[in-house]
């Protein structure tokens, strides 16, 4: 088992977290990782087709942000969306069966990896066009403001999307109209194969809202407690009617951009160093053990439980039938 070697790793001290919280984050992050590993496996077996973008390495981002949400809050993201769906409580069976294009998938097999939604969980996709989800997310916040509730929308996008024009059009209107939206920039340092320094004139993406008067901060995305603390601050800002907030969450994806990406643009050592020294799940594991919140056996039991959930999802995704041929012609119009 790898141990966390980063001497600067922050503990639970100061962050307002209970044992139950820590266990929940551990469980949620582990579910995402094991789910994604299984998805990668099923892709290799030809059961999942097309594009499949895994979230492995970035788990603490969405789990930390979700920790500050309440019922009614909305979330929307890009095509790297499996983690977001699991973190907001969507059924792993439905997600996996969508990946395999089956009737039991969340979109009845018609959306695929990049296009899933849940009205019940207030998850608004799953969008395949880089950056398009940013104005859509502001629009969700617009609807909440129009209806006069205090819900907040989390609009996630990557460092690559941060260079799209529509993001800045959205920053302007979100600030102008004080929309309750948190722009979460998941900076995993690579826009597909282009390192941030090759694509971005100034590295600090959290400052990109300055021209519009949107406050922003950068967060260690490998530390779920740091992400949670930042999320709480941003949420408070939005709920108070102060308008949008930008969180640049520095993270790292361990896998390629998609399943077909050999990731030649970075060294194996770079990836291994992140895994060894900065892994977000390991971090929480250490906190649980060091704080006496859980024993090795407790954590093994959780691992086993998660594995069972993922295996059940995989099994369902293989046995759920393909959609009926008549489904080709449904859901085009309401």
């Amino acid at each position: 088992m790898a141990t966390r070697k980063n001497p600067e790793a922050k503990g639970a001290e100061g962050a307002n977290v209970s044992k139950d919280d820590l266990l929940k984050y551990y469980r949620d992050m582990l579910l995402i990782r094991r789910f994604e590993e299984k998805a990668g496996q099923l892709y290799g077996m030809g059961l999942i087709g097309g594009f499949c973008h895994l979230y492995i390495g970035q788990e603490a981002v969405v789990v930390g942000l979700e920790a500050a949400t309440k019922e009614g809050d909305k979330r929307i993201t890009s095509y790297r969306d499996h983690g977001h769906m699991l973190a907001c409580g969507m059924d792993p069976k439905g997600v996996m069966a969508e990946l395999t294009g089956r009737e039991g998938g969340l979109s009845k097999g018609k959306g695929g990896s990049m296009h899933m939604f849940s009205k019940e969980k207030h998850f608004y996709g799953g969008h395949g066009i880089v950056g398009a989800q940013v104005p859509l997310g502001a629009g969700l916040a617009f609807a909440d403001k129009y209806m006069g509730n205090d819900n907040v929308t989390f609009a996630y996008f990557g460092d690559g999307a941060a260079n799209q024009g529509q993001v800045y059009e959205t920053f302007n209107m979100a600030a102008l109209w004080k929309l309750p939206v948190i722009f979460v920039i998941e900076n995993n340092q690579y826009a597909m194969g282009t390192a941030q320094k090759r694509s971005t004139s100034t590295p600090d993406l959290y400052t990109r809202g300055e021209a519009f008067g949107i406050p922003g901060e950068t967060v260690d995305g490998m530390d779920v407690l740091a992400v949670k603390a930042a999320s709480e601050k941003a949420v408070a800002h939005c709920r108070a009617g102060e308008g949008p907030y930008i969180l640049e969450v520095k993270t790292y994806r361990y896998r390629g951009h998609s399943m077909s990406d050999p990731a030649k643009y970075r060294s194996r050592e770079e990836v291994q160093k992140m895994r060894d020294e900065r892994d977000a799940i390991e971090h929480v594991r250490e906190l649980l053990l060091a704080g006496g919140h859980a024993t090795d056996d407790d954590l093994k039991a959780i691992d086993k439980e998660i594995k069972a959930v993922v295996n059940e999802a995989a099994e369902f995704s293989k046995t759920s039938p393909e959609p009926a041929l008549s489904e080709l012609w449904t859901d085009i119009y309401a």
Binding site: K74, I76, G105, L106, S107, K108, G109, K110, G111, H115, M116, F117, S118, K119, Y124, G125, G126, H127, G128, I129, A132, V134, P135, L136, G137, A138, G139, L140, A141, F142, A143, D144, Y146, M147, G165, Q166, E169, T170, N172, M173, L176, T330, D331, I332, Y333, A334
Partner: protein, 453 residues
């Protein structure tokens, strides 16, 4: 030397206007750049400045006069010591000049062609009122906004400016800034925000100042609005209307003159409406706002000012996918939509004078298309000509031709001819622009070809 001050053209489509207010009186000395009058165009009330210096010798058109044609002399400037009486009176005062605006009918342009058969869209005996397409669109939005709090209007200049084409005039006053929202000039962004708000439970109406600018936003229209219901397995609908001026206006060049009918009609998940008359504009827009799907509503700047009879009903809607037969005939079927209908109906009049009886069908909606009405007509007349303003390649006419060939081949006595705009970017020069657009004479020629006359 006395100088005539002429009624100015203050917008690309302005042919006449209202002299709303004089800011000078006879005997006043004016300098160049001084505001002489306020003139109401088809779009807005404009200030009209003096170009020349002089003394206002005579005011020829009283304030409040409506229907003053462009280039009509409205005042005379004289030099010091010169008498205005020395100036010869204009040859003929404009006919409308004597009628104050308040009493003048809003309809200033040629009356719409008469419907030759009772309309299927409203009951017999329904009282009618004359209304411009502009007023019909405004009424449709106002009525639906009164009925449904989730309906809001968003776009450039829709609020305080009262609409670039005055479609939204008065709506800000009635519904407030929460529901009539002025946006920055940022089509891609505000379209995405509107689509997101529809996912979130609202029913937006997005006004594009013209559909040319919607190209900036076409990804959000097609990839986000049109496809999400399908991609979500039926969970996430997008009730939204995208509306605005489409097609050529007048002399605004290539980037501002394009008909997007065929573009949007290609996309499953969208509904596409392109009305011609004011009654259709009203009934179809109300229907569009109530529709749970994204609707592209293609208006036309030149048609905004045209007047038609509109039924006076508490709640008047027109279902999508029902063509209207404007004129029954036996020799040929002319199918059109939007402003193409002006050419189709004009051609039918010319053909009637030559003894050719044309049936004229207005599709009204392009997705869904009322194939049945078109096919039934073609099976009767055995000939078909289509008319549209858009480019010829991949046109609505092409699609109709293919459908007619597949489903009514044995009934055809001649190939279907598509009359379209020419396959060129829209030129600016007046003569070239005229050449680029489809005309009623071209429709007449096509009909003669398919009827072998």
């Amino acid at each position: 030397m006395a100088t005539e001050v002429l009624m100015p053209a203050l917008s690309p489509t302005m042919e006449e206007g209202t002299l709303a207010k004089w800011l000078v009186k006879e005997g006043d000395t004016v300098t160049s750049g001084q505001i002489l009058a306020e003139i109401e165009t088809d779009k807005a009330t404009m200030e009209f400045e003096a170009v020349d210096e002089g003394i206002v010798g005579k005011i020829l058109v009283a304030e409040g006069t409506a229907g003053v044609k462009v280039n009509t002399p409205i005042a005379v400037l004289v030099e010091e010591g010169e008498s205005a009486d020395a100036v010869p009176a204009p040859a003929a005062a404009p006919a409308a000049a004597a009628v104050p605006a308040a009493a003048a009918p809003v309809a200033a342009e040629a009356p719409a062609p008469v419907v030759s058969k009772a309309s299927a869209d409203w009951p017999e005996g329904t009282p009618m009122k004359t209304m411009t397409v502009r007023e019909a669109l405004r009424e449709a939005m106002a009525e639906e906004m009164r009925a449904t709090p989730e309906v809001y209007l968003m776009g450039e200049e829709v609020g305080e400016y009262q609409g670039a084409y005055k479609i939204s005039q008065g709506l800000l006053d009635e519904f407030g800034a929460k529901r009539v929202i002025d946006t920055p000039i940022t089509e891609h962004g505000f379209t995405g925000i509107a689509v997101g708000s529809a996912f979130g439970g609202l029913r937006p109406i997005v006004e594009f100042m013209t559909f040319n600018f919607a190209m900036q936003a076409i990804d959000q229209i097609i990839n986000s609005a049109a496809k999400t219901l399908y991609m979500s397995g039926g969970q996430m609908g997008c009730p939204i209307v995208f509306r605005g001026a489409n097609g050529a206006a007048a002399r605004v060049g290539a980037q501002h003159s394009q008909d997007y009918a065929a573009w949007y009609a290609q996309i499953p998940g969208l509904k596409v409406v392109m009305p011609y008359s004011a009654a259709d504009a009203k009934g179809l827009l109300k229907q569009a706002i109530r529709d749970p799907n994204p609707v592209i509503f293609l208006e036309n700047e030149i048609l905004y000012g045209r007047s038609f009879e509109v039924p006076v009903l508490d709640d008047f809607t027109i279902p999508f996918g029902k063509a209207r037969i404007w004129r029954e005939g036996t020799d040929v079927t002319i199918v059109s939509f939007g402003i193409g209908m002006s050419h189709a109906l004009e051609a039918a009049d010319k053909l009637a004078a030559e003894g050719i009886s044309a049936e004229v069908i207005d599709l009204r909606t392009l997705r869904p298309i009322d194939y049945d009405t078109v096919l039934a007509s073609v099976m009767k007349t055995n000939r078909c000509v289509t008319v549209e303003e858009g480019f010829p390649v991949g046109s609505i006419g092409n699609h109709l031709s293919a459908t007619i060939m597949e489903r009514a081949f044995d009934y055809l006595d001649a190939p279907v001819i598509n009359c379209t705009g020419k396959d060129v970017p829209m030129p600016y020069a007046a003569n070239l622009e005229k050449l680029a657009l489809v005309t009623s004479d071209e429709v007449v020629a096509a009909v003669k070809k398919v009827t072998y006359r």
